[in-house]
Subunit: 428 residues, 2 copies
């Protein structure tokens, strides 16, 4: 065995404790598989005395996590604090500058500062790794950077926020309205302190922006991810979609188009016959399409102590084995600025709206769609025991621009009650 | 860029041509992602003049593929000849002995000689890689060796022969009998020259034995894989299974048990709600279960020019990037001999048989099962417009030993017509 690899762990929440457990319980296995002992030198967390169910008394303690970044007895800093700025960022920068490798589960940090941090890591000849930041235990970063490296990636898609998928599948399976299931998820502790990170699609958007950078060799550009949350999805939408053979998923899609890099995270209709449509509960799924390999689907737990710690430790073991690659699969300086695609690729759309029950209302809607260049595939006034008439329209392929235009015109046309719902029907 | 990585390719069939195409078409991308030029120095195949649709005139030609293994201008030998002995083995041995890295898609070779070849590679400080040997384009070797390396693997399962899955799903979807679909598959060119390699489960068994070695740190032991082909699966079995909510799949399962290493490749009933049960046509799927990560599912094309070449080139790119690991994820000398589990773990079983239509026949069968310690969960005499009475039995959990014992007793009991069908119902 060569010299041991020594970790400094910042953050002893669920994932941090999971990492400590793997190091403590599987020490022989880790050594056999990497040829090195993997040990923990020091840790830092909010409370030193809290009972976490594991013995951390053998590790040095730092009140200030940033101090882990300059300790002589630390080779790899494991950053599990989270947050796009503040202590997490300071720690990662300090560690890289001091020649430590960094393993992190922090998608927000990398989505906002990934380009600069990747450059910093490469300037210092060290690894900055983040398998745990995307889709929990699924080895998706490794699959994209290494396993499918010979492919020109044509599209990356995924359901990457377990909480949203829990909410949507629970609505579908139990027939419950959004608000009720949202409260249920809150009580179960599934939601972030700021729930909008989950249901607003932000967390999943962070993840998508990292996959985009690897897939297309572009700079991380989270700001250009078009975000739409799930909070406007009603139980009616879910039922109507199911009647047509679709499930509604918070789906991330990234693809390079003639108009630039398209990145969007939004509720979409996906065929219930596709693995994406069948995904239940908190499970994550990433679909990668390459010019040679075709479609690869990866599925697994998107969060939780074990799965996330598994991903963190895979990164640590790669470092122990001497595997070192640029953060996004190619040198940071070669990542290009891709113009964001303002208009997304065409797709059929699902439109649901409520019309005033008066003569000519439907004709007005149809005319607006026609004027916007959107042609109707199916139209159904689907029940009628109310003062108003709910209408479901499925369009032929239309651009997001044309749909947006039509939605704007609906606002002022005098026959639409409330906000129409518009969801892409994704081809998978 | 550092020095180029130079390939010698043996075998210019579908996969070989796919590899040549990637090297020719994606040269810039490969260089950007690996930091090195990847070039082809020499090739060898059965015919030099055959039109393969790619220009190979710039590459040196070897009539004898083994000669590629000692060429000074070759850093990596890509072995795409196939076969467990003969030229393929001679080439791989020659190449490793001459300090070349080897990338191969040859599951038969590794299933039979993997232990010795892994040792030879390590003795020479070179890589022996085989991502393309298992599940085509799916990065399953990388996921097991690296992505899930922090896990004690508890079970590996998979549908890893596309031809068998094509036959079974075609039978299910079209309601056609085995023989008819088998002929269809033969005409479509889906079958190996010796079809028993496919339908006898041998090819898939080869693959399973490689996954076992990585997962459990054991020597490759193909001889101990319990094989059962799909040729006895009837359309009746498929329909009866579907009525109960199952699909029949040629499923490989490897797990370490208290009684030794269990490796089996056999048609099983799997729930149609699980991704394995939903797998259609030639697609492959591997399910990996680890103590931390839980269940990871990987799905993709199991064969074909693009997917297999994608996997070959991923290995080549890893070598170009300087990533070097032992063949089975840990040094060959640390792989242990695991006793094969003679009796597999208990499971419910599906039994279908035809009984003579006479009093007491059913009682006799029930008595035999009881005597063998097998208890019945469901029993159904499922139609009766024949001279004999077909019977479907679903058992409670029973060991393969007890089921085998019961099947032997059925033979001599005087009421069973023909051979009963016994299929495990796999818990997934």
């Amino acid at each position: 065995m060569s010299t041991p690899l020594r970790l400094g762990i910042a953050g002893l929440g669920t994932v941090g404790i999971g990492v400590v457990k793997i190091v403590q319980m599987h020490s022989e296995m880790l050594g056999r598989r990497t040829g090195r002992d993997i040990s923990i030198s020091a840790v830092s967390a909010s409370s030193r005395t809290k009972d976490r169910g594991v013995d951390i008394s053998g590790y040095a303690w730092e009140d200030n996590p940033v101090a882990l970044g300059s300790r002589e007895d630390v080779d790899v800093v494991v950053e599990l604090i989270g947050g796009e700025n503040g202590v997490a960022k300071a720690l990662v920068e300090t560690a890289l500058a001091h020649g430590k490798h960094v393993v992190t589960a922090n998608k927000a940090l990398l989505a906002h500062h990934g380009n600069a941090l990747a450059q910093l890591a490469e300037d210092n000849g060290r690894s900055l790794r983040y398998e745990a930041a995307v889709a929990g235990g699924i080895p998706v970063i490794k699959s994209l950077v290494e396993g499918l490296a010979a492919n020109q990636i044509t599209r990356v898609m995924g359901v990457m926020n377990g909480t949203c998928n829990y909410i949507l599948t629970r609505m579908e399976n139990a027939g419950l309205p959004y608000d009720e299931v949202f409260e249920e998820a809150r009580k179960l502790g599934f939601l972030e302190a700021d729930p909008n990170l989950d249901v607003g699609g932000i967390d999943a958007g962070h993840k998508l922006s990292l996959l985009s950078a690897i897939a297309f060799g572009t700079k991380v550009d989270f700001e250009s991810v078009v975000l739409q949350g799930i909070n406007a999805v009603s139980i009616d939408d879910i039922k109507l979609a199911r009647d047509m053979g679709y499930s509604i998923k918070l789906l991330g899609v990234a693809q390079m188009t003639g108009r630039g890099l398209e990145q969007r995270m939004s509720p979409c209709l996906v065929p219930e016959t596709h693995p994406l449509g069948q995904l239940q509960g908190g499970t994550n799924m990433v679909v990668i399409e390459g010019d040679s390999v075709g479609q690869i689907v990866l599925r697994g737990a998107g969060a939780g102590e074990g799965p996330t710690a598994s991903a963190v430790m895979a990164d640590v073991m790669d470092i122990a084995r001497g595997l070192q690659l640029p953060t996004f699969g190619q040198p940071a300086e070669t990542l290009v600025d891709a113009p964001p695609a303002v208009v997304s690729t065409g797709a059929p759309w699902y439109l649901r709206m409520v019309l005033l029950d008066k003569p000519g209302a439907l004709a007005k809607i149809a005319t607006i769609l026609g004027d916007c260049g959107v042609s109707i595939d199916r139209l159904r006034q689907y029940h009628h025991d109310e003062p108003h008439a709910p209408v479901l329209i499925v369009t032929h392929k239309a651009s997001s621009d044309d749909i947006t235009h039509a939605l704007e015109m609906f606002e002022d046309c005098g026959v639409v009650v409330g906000d129409p719902m518009a969801l892409r029907i994704e081809t998978v």
